[in-house]
């Protein structure tokens, strides 16, 4: 092979790949508005994206799987929790999730919190080709009991341990059904200070009555 042939390989393979890439880019850009629900992308969402950038959230949290690996991925956080939980968490991370690895309180203004929550709600709707994958065991076991799902959604395991998994800020709940009945648990969820005036547990009175009942049902069954 001569040097000019090698040079031709260099030029034409680059051109081929670049043309293909740019053509697909053109197509992707035309499809992205639909795949990302751009119609829901209002000023609040855009402002929220800037809040996300301004506080450099992305160097701890991944979003769409990209970023720092120090804190949970937030792509689908609004599905795992809910927008209200997100808002309360950002307001005071320590109070809502007293985990040992901490997120600093960024002291965001109310408007900033509302905007970044709107942004995360919009991100939640992006079509990510089913990423992140559903855990295999969960998929195999079928739908969990409704109470178990609420236990997960509300992040109870940040403080409470069940079967060796979870935090230690609150009591171990592995066999809680042996010591407390359903009514007691329901009351505890509604007003934690009713049983212990010094309890640091947040109230879950904000949950619908049905959810509290399911949760108490699930927990009182753990014996």
């Amino acid at each position: 092979m001569t040097i000019s042939q090698a040079k031709a390989i260099f030029i034409w393979s680059t051109v081929f790949s670049a043309v293909l890439f740019l053509a697909l880019t053109y197509d992707s850009v035309s499809k992205m508005p639909q795949r990302t629900n751009e119609k829901n992308l209002d000023e609040h969402v855009a402002a929220g994206k800037w809040v996300w950038q301004k506080y450099n959230c992305n160097d701890c949290h991944t979003i769409l799987g990209i970023g720092g690996y120090y804190a949970p991925d937030v792509t689908k956080v609004v599905s795992y929790r809910d927008a209200d939980w997100v808002r309360r968490f950002i307001e005071d991370p320590e109070k809502v999730w007293p985990a040992s690895r901490k997120m600093p309180n960024l002291h965001l203004k109310d408007q900033e919190i509302a905007d970044v929550t709107a942004f995360l709600t919009w991100v939640n709707g992006i079509d990510t080709n089913n990423w992140p994958p559903k855990p295999l065991t969960v998929a195999a076991a079928g739908a969990p009991k409704p109470g178990e799902a609420i236990f997960k959604d509300q992040g109870c395991s940040a403080c409470h341990m069940i079967g060796g998994i979870g935090g230690t800020a609150g009591p171990d709940l592995t066999q809680v059904g042996g010591r407390r009945d359903k009514e007691w648990i329901e009351e505890q969820l509604k007003n934690p200070k009713s049983h212990n005036p010094n309890s640091i547990m947040p109230s879950y009175a904000k949950l619908p009555e049905k959810d509290r009942e399911d949760l108490a049902d699930y927990l009182s069954g753990l014996k």
Binding site: M1, I3, A6, K7, I9, F10, W12, S13, T14, F16, S17, A18, L20, F21, L24, T25, D27, S28, K31, M32, R35, T36, E38, V45, W50, Q53, K54, Y55, N56, C57, N58, D59, C60, I63, L64, G65, I66, G68, Y70, A71, P72, D73, S100, R101, K102, P104, F119, I126, D127, T128, N129, W131, P132, P133, P135, T137, G155, S157, A158, G166
Partner: protein, 449 residues
């Protein structure tokens, strides 16, 4: 050293060595936060800030290295002095000031908030100005003699591509998917495109000078390799477009082109080894050769094999967004760019200091310490990542609970990080204290003959 203006490179190398040291210090701070939950610095230097500084220092010291190496290489290739030494100095100070401003700014919460591209827009404009000065200076130097060697063409193509692609990371876009789409034009197309061209040209230059093999042979390989790099790398950007809101066909395009990416890197290993075997001159400073071969091999394993391992969507679905990516990132940057920079610096440094033969002991120790420690870090990250995938993604365990099971590996990572820092310290000491040694009798005799 044949040209006076090659001396400019030295200042660039000094800054790059110091920033390398600083980068590793911030790496240790960042790593400590994984090992201990209690973070005394949480309100001064939280994880995101120390990570941003760690990443930025990496890019900046490598760029200082590349620029210095370009200023060293171009006069010899173009056979003329640099167009303007003043511009080269101005550009150096400008970039240093921008770098200091960026890092100080992060500590005070001044950030643009996209990973690697955290620099606020004003500073990014400054970086563009620096790049333009640099390109102008290099291009004008080449135009003085118009000796368009293959090495110069590939180098210039890489530098122009580097500057152009940076533009796609400057603008704020409302849509996160679009923002990330173009963000990868900097992150991916730099490391798997533009930088490969620059690194390929530099490596070709070192091999040419070191082994004395035919220029035509070296440049022929160079063209084919960088051609394949761009062929696989440009469309291979698709392996970042699996899960970010982009259409499904990227799963196919990214998988196919991404899977081919190790091929040119493998060719680089082969041709490096072949040039060394068929060398026509006695290699005096063998340590440069060790760095070069080390770089070729680790480039292949770090960027090629480790990248290939989680390139396919079926695998990437599970590994994406976990410490497996951190493992690949550390390995690839070290093999492809850190070792290449040190190869060229060890080639040029003695000449810049007016030394012919130098003592290799400390450099070899630095090479071994860095490589061993980095391999340990890469394994620790990888195992932590696999634990994370299994517990979190397969069993559905909560994120923070999973992190507790990863801690033993974070500890291995951190201890290995200290080992790596020790290797870097050896390099920095060696860099500043490099001394002439008298040639051995054997050497002297062979020269007299």
């Amino acid at each position: 050293m044949q040209y006076e203006s090659q001396r400019i490179a030295y200042k660039y190398f000094v800054i790059s060595a110091l920033l390398f040291g600083l980068q590793v210090i911030f790496g240790l701070i960042t790593g400590a936060k994984y090992v201990w939950d209690f973070d005394p610095l949480i309100n001064i230097l939280p994880f995101n800030t120390s990570r941003a500084i760690h990443l930025n220092l990496l890019i900046v010291w490598l760029l200082f290295g590349f620029m210095g190496e370009t200023y060293y290489l171009v006069p010899e290739e173009a056979e003329t002095e640099i167009y303007s030494a003043k511009l080269a100095n101005l550009q150096l100070y400008l970039l240093a000031v921008i770098g200091i401003a960026a890092i100080t700014g992060y500590v005070f919460g001044w950030s643009w908030g996209m990973p690697f591209l955290e620099q606020p827009t004003v500073l990014k404009i400054g970086i563009v100005i620096v790049a333009l000065i640099f390109l102008f200076n290099i291009f004008m130097t080449m135009m003085k003699t118009r000796k368009w060697t293959g090495i110069l063409i590939v180098l210039l193509a890489g530098l122009v591509l580097l500057a152009l692609l940076f533009l796609s990371g400057i603008f704020f876009m409302k849509n996160l998917t679009t923002q990330y789409y173009y963000w990868f034009w900097v992150i991916h197309l730099w490391t798997e495109g533009a930088w490969e061209l620059i690194a390929g040209a530099i490596m070709a230059f070192v091999l040419l000078k070191l082994t004395g093999v035919d220029r035509e042979l070296v440049e022929k390989w160079l063209y084919i390799e960088v051609g394949l790099v761009l062929f696989t790398g440009i469309a291979g950007t698709g392996h970042h477009y699996y899960w970010i809101g982009t259409p499904k066909y990227w799963l196919w395009v990214g998988a196919a082109f991404g899977a081919l990416e190790p091929l040119p890197i493998f060719l680089m290993v082969i041709d490096t080894l072949r040039h060394v075997r068929e060398r026509k001159v006695e290699i005096e400073n063998k340590i440069v050769l060790y760095w070069a071969v080390g770089s070729a091999v680790l480039h292949f394993f770090g960027a090629g094999v480790w990248g290939f391992a989680h390139n396919l969507p079926q695998v990437n679905r599970w590994t994406h967004g976990t410490q497996v990516t951190a493992s690949h990132g550390h390995f690839a940057f070290f093999g492809a760019y850190v070792m290449l920079n040190l190869t060229m610096i060890y080639f040029a440094l003695p000449k810049l200091k007016g030394i012919r033969l130098f003592k290799h002991g400390l450099s070899l120790m630095a090479l071994r310490t860095m490589t061993f420690s980095m391999l340990m870090m890469v394994l620790a990250f990888a195992i932590a990542g696999i634990v994370q995938i299994y517990l979190q993604r397969v069993l559905g365990m909560d994120y923070l609970t999973t992190q507790r099971f990863m801690k033993p590996w974070f500890t291995v990572l951190w201890i290995s990080g200290w080992g790596f820092a020790l290797g870097v310290l050896m390099y920095i000491i060696d860099f500043f204290t490099l001394k002439q040694v008298e040639p051995s009798p054997v050497h002297r005799r062979s020269q007299n003959e």
